[in-house]
């Protein structure tokens, strides 16, 4: 077989490229110092964002339950909750009965619920609706990289750190896709390594290219080899070092959140973290499945919130809990619900101004059987971008969206 020439490395040895390298590494050095445990007290501690994706379409009406609404009870003859089943918030609505920890966070004003979050011309395909949420653009992937990628272009520009954006889990959401700041990802920190003798590991480390522009698959892979080497040792070490007396639930979601806390406290330069809880596509037999998911969500978030409270770094994390859509108001013939539109989001963290935001959607003014959204999800993003990540939201989202009051 004949070799195809790849001479980018040769080009990079030119003077200009060397200058670029020096510049990048000095910035990276600055970033390392900024994020290290020996933080300069004069520098503001970096804010971190955690994305918690509830995959499959979380039933908003079983999360924040309008128990007192006649239309709700009529639409949900088998799935509907009565007042005594919910954690009452007011004389109209209450939280799902399993969300006791969430309720406590809400009462302590450390968790905000934004109601009726969605977008115009809603799409009921899981994949297309994810794309809209992940890119913050109705065109989905056709609009380019994910919204965190766009945030990175505005907020971190030339910072080169493979652990800036980390997904804990198997399926990296498109929101994190970025040419300049591609995410690191792992499922189990214990096996997050390339194993071999020391000399072999050293040689493997030279097979990558951290400056790769990732225009071809081969360049993409070279960049990933470099990133994986730089990322894995720091992440393994941060997780191994981490000590907490908070007990996380013994299930994959809990374990992932424990890793999130470890990385948030690890001083390894991470700014965005991401996890996923799957199983929300409850077309049939919704009650038991959704109850169990609410329980998992609640005990996971409760542990994480308590753990993050313990440190300054932890207090610098704000988490967003979202799903690609809610579900149809009327339950289907199989004690389940089909794909719907708007649903509530949770925002939590020590800096969050807890409480209820937005407006519960009307169950009588339906649009094709679905509630109409009352808050655009990009307003939630804009609030996080401007008031937490300190970036110009219009540069990330393409236009201004009204911000909400849950931060700043």
């Amino acid at each position: 077989m004949t070799s195809r020439p790849f001479d980018r490395r040769a080009l990079l040895t030119g003077f200009g490229a060397l200058g670029g390298l020096a510049l990048v590494s000095s910035r990276a050095h600055g970033a390392v110092r900024l994020f290290s445990s020996e933080l300069d007290p004069r520098e503001p501690a970096p804010h971190m964002l955690l994305l918690v994706q509830l995959s499959g379409g979380n039933d908003g009406l079983s999360t924040v339950v309008p128990y007192a609404d006649d239309a709700y009870r009529a639409a949900r003859p088998t799935l509907g909750f009565a007042k005594q089943d919910v954690l009452v918030l007011d004389d109209y609505k209450g939280l799902h009965g399993e969300l006791e920890g969430v309720r406590k966070l809400l009462d302590a004003r450390k968790l905000a619920i934004v109601e009726g979050v969605g977008y115009p011309n809603p799409i009921r395909s899981h994949f297309k609706s994810y794309e809209v949420w992940h890119t913050a653009d109705p065109r989905g992937r056709a609009a380019g990289q994910g919204w965190i990628g766009k945030l990175g272009d505005v907020a971190w520009r030339d910072v080169q750190d493979p652990n800036l954006v980390v997904h804990v889990g198997a399926n990296v959401p498109y929101s994190l896709e970025s040419a300049a700041h591609p995410p690191a990802a792992f499922v189990n920190p214990a096996s997050y390594r390339w194993a071999g003798e020391k000399e072999d590991v050293d040689a493997y480390g030279k097979m990558g290219d951290s400056e790769g522009k990732a225009e071809s698959n081969l360049e993409f892979l070279r960049r990933k080899v470099a990133d994986s080497q730089a990322s894995s040792q720091k992440i393994r070490s941060a997780v191994a070092r981490y000590r907490t007396d908070v007990e996380y639930p013994d299930e994959p979601f809990g374990a992932a959140l424990r890793d999130v806390a470890a990385l948030a406290n690890g001083g390894i330069g991470t700014r965005v973290l991401s996890v996923e809880l799957t199983g929300f596509d409850t077309h049939t037999g919704q009650r038991a499945r959704h109850d169990n998911l609410m329980k998992q969500l609640d005990r996971g978030l409760t542990a994480l919130a308590a753990d993050l409270e313990r440190s300054e770094a932890g207090k610098n994390v704000v988490g967003l809990v979202f799903s690609e859509f809610g579900r149809r108001v009327k339950e289907n013939g199989s004690r389940g619900t089909d794909h719907g539109v708007a649903a509530p989001c949770f925002v939590f963290g020590a800096s969050v101004k807890g409480g209820l935001y937005g407006k519960h959607p009307s169950l009588t003014a339906l649009d094709a059987g679905d509630v109409a959204h009352t808050t655009d999800f990009r307003s939630v993003y804009a609030t996080l971008i401007e008031r937490w990540m300190g970036a110009d939201s219009s540069r990330v989202l393409g236009q201004k969206y009204p911000t909400l009051g849950f931060l700043g």
Binding site: A184, A195, G196, N217, F220, S237, Y242, D245
Partner: protein, 596 residues
């Protein structure tokens, strides 16, 4: 308690049918060019069928894409047969008959039987049914991977995999392993036939009916799940129908259910009223609804694009989609004809396509095993592919696997190298899961990184199907409240899925590789030649100059450290062989090794 209910042995005797349906074509042994044949197969598109040179590069490319990688001898044989004749061999299979898998139908007790049991007995019984199903599916997964490794009809297995990701069903939702296996057999026997027939079979497929909730879709109480995915993912793609079309289509699909594991049409559940779908109003049933979809211009476009993306690994141009879509349309959606045309198309062998696709985990693991000529337990590769993000029978969603760059994360990329190292015998599972040794002494009361002596997640008794999404979390984890380590922490015992893999590696696998002999045969007597010879055998694509330079540097330096003369590398016994395997491990971990 064993399997209490009567079990029914189902002989999946579809193989013979499949063979009968294979068109037989004379295979010429001559090295005749591809022109004459492709000119016959092509419709009048106005394009000239330009000939390509039928050489090792192109033959290996075709074997990578139509099958699961090639051994050197297979490439030479393919070149010798000639392009058109070899494509015909691929389309019919080298040895198309196969020994089918015996499917055991593991019966679930009916409601009365369950109610007659006590609570504990019932739970035990249902757990046993679940375990039996998982075990059977694990066995079948191994059987399937074995078909890929043997490659007697690689294209048939390739298409089975393609359809598994296209008409997805997941063992997480479909409780019956027999149903999952029979769906797989459907793909195996019909996957190279007419798409319309496959589509009609899929609305009668028990696993699909269960997976997409058609058992809950009945007159007066429609469930839209199946109808939505039929239009969004199986035929048209998003944007070619409305929400109202989905609601009406769900009514057309009513009536098809599963009864005791078989598909059945229950007339009383079917909505016999008029439906308006895509502007047409009539009393649609499932087949007339599918016929309507097959007539839509979007349908051949959708399928052509899916097939082109899968086989070419790039987004096709609109013109190329149009071209192949109109071919599909005018050939009654004949998949075999489509693939013949594609495999003879010079554009399929262009530089943007050859070696430009990211290999899936199955491609990587099966291809690497074939190129190394090792025989790992097929179930090991199945588990490993699952860890790398491609768990057969458990696609991540109804959309299947995203593929392409989505296969590669910072984690899965390194795990691929680790798997290759295990196949080569230079990496042990314990090396991958080794507890972290921290650089500094832990502060008093600080996190120690000590591992507990066991892994979590094996409570279910070593289920073969873990239900994990990709890489397992069922591995040792640092216990949060562990006491500080006094010494280097002990490597934990391997349990769960890692444990299964460890046992297979230890008990059922020997890396019977002799790289020194291969290099001697290749007359590689210096470091450059050794790197080139190994890369040529082990990589599906060419080595880049950068990687080649690093590998030569590595080999020279480690060879010197071991005191081996350059010319003696192939004759240095165990030390030399081990060094060559470490070199092979690096080669298989290269960016280039992830392409195929």
């Amino acid at each position: 308690m064993g399997i209490r209910a009567s079990t029914l042995l189902l002989f999946v005797a579809l193989a013979a049918v499949a063979i009968a349906n294979e068109p037989t074509r004379p295979i010429s042994g001559s090295n005749s060019g591809s022109n004459s044949h492709s000119a016959v197969e092509r419709p009048a598109t106005g394009r000239d069928a330009t000939s390509i040179e039928w050489n090792a590069r192109n033959a290996e490319h075709l074997l990578n894409r139509a099958g699961f990688g090639a051994r050197p001898a297979e490439i030479a044989a393919a070149v010798n047969v000639g392009h058109a004749a070899f494509v015909e061999q691929l389309l019919t299979g080298f040895r198309p008959d196969y020994e089918p898998f015996f499917v055991e139908r593991i019966e679930r007790p009916d409601r009365d039987e369950l109610q007659a049991m006590g609570e504990a007995e019932r739970r035990e019984f249902l757990n046993q049914v679940q375990r039996d199903n998982r075990r059977q599916l694990a066995q079948f997964a191994g059987w399937w991977v074995d078909q890929m490794l043997e490659s007697h009809h690689p294209l048939r297995e390739r298409m089975t995999l393609f359809w598994h990701g296209y008409f997805t069903s997941s063992a997480r939702d479909v409780r019956s392993s027999a149903a999952m296996i029979e769906q797989n057999e459907l793909f195996r026997t019909r996957g190279l036939g007419k798409f319309g027939e496959l589509l009609r079979a899929i609305v009668r497929d028990p696993a699909m009916l269960e997976y997409l909730d058609n058992n809950q879709n009945r007159k007066g109480n429609p469930n839209e799940n199946f109808a939505r995915e039929v239009m969004e993912l199986f035929t048209l793609g998003e944007g070619h129908y409305t929400e109202a079309d989905i609601k009406e289509a769900a009514r057309a699909l009513t009536g098809w259910v599963t009864r005791r594991g078989e598909a059945a049409y229950v007339k009383g559940r079917h909505d016999n009223g008029k439906k308006t779908i895509l502007g047409v109003t009539k009393n649609f049933d499932a087949d007339s609804f599918l016929a309507l979809l097959l007539e839509q211009p979007a349908c051949p476009q959708w399928l052509a694009k899916k097939l082109l993306v899968h086989f070419e690994g790039r987004t096709p141009s609109p013109a190329r989609i149009d071209d192949y879509a109109s071919f599909l349309k005018s050939n009654d959606y004949d998949v075999r004809a489509f693939l013949r045309r594609l495999f003879l198309d010079p554009a399929f062998y262009s530089d943007d396509v050859v070696a430009a696709r990211i290999a899936s985990p199955i491609d990587y693991l099966v291809g690497t095993s074939r190129r190394l000529s090792v025989e790992p337990p097929p179930a090991l590769l199945w588990l490993a592919a699952g860890q790398l993000g491609e768990r057969l029978f458990e696609p991540p969603s109804v959309k299947g696997w995203d593929g392409g760059q989505a296969w590669i994360t910072t984690s899965t990329l390194m795990q691929r190298g680790n798997m290759a190292g295990m196949l080569l015998g230079v990496v042990k599972l314990e090396d991958v899961l080794r507890p972290e040794v921290l650089d500094e002494e832990p502060e008093p009361g600080d996190m120690s990184g000590e591992m507990t002596g066991e892994m979590t997640g094996d409570e279910a008794g070593g289920d073969e199907m873990s239900g994990d999404d990709g890489e397992s979390r069922r591995a040792p984890r640092a216990k949060p409240d562990a006491k500080p380590a006094k010494k280097k922490p002990a490597t934990p015992a391997l349990k769960g899925e890692y444990g299964q893999m460890g046992r297979m590696l230890a008990d059922a696998y020997i890396p019977a590789i002799h790289l020194s002999a291969r290099l001697q045969r290749a007359q590689a007597t210096n470091d450059h030649a050794a790197v080139d010879a190994l890369a040529d055998e082990l990589l599906p694509v060419a080595l880049t100059p950068e990687s080649r330079a690093e590998l030569v540097r590595f080999l020279a330096s480690e060879r010197e450290a071991l005191g081996i003369e350059e010319a003696q590398l192939c004759k240095s016994g165990r030390d030399g062989e081990r060094l060559l395997r470490r070199l092979a491990h690096l080669i298989l971990s290269l960016p280039e090794a992830q392409l195929s």
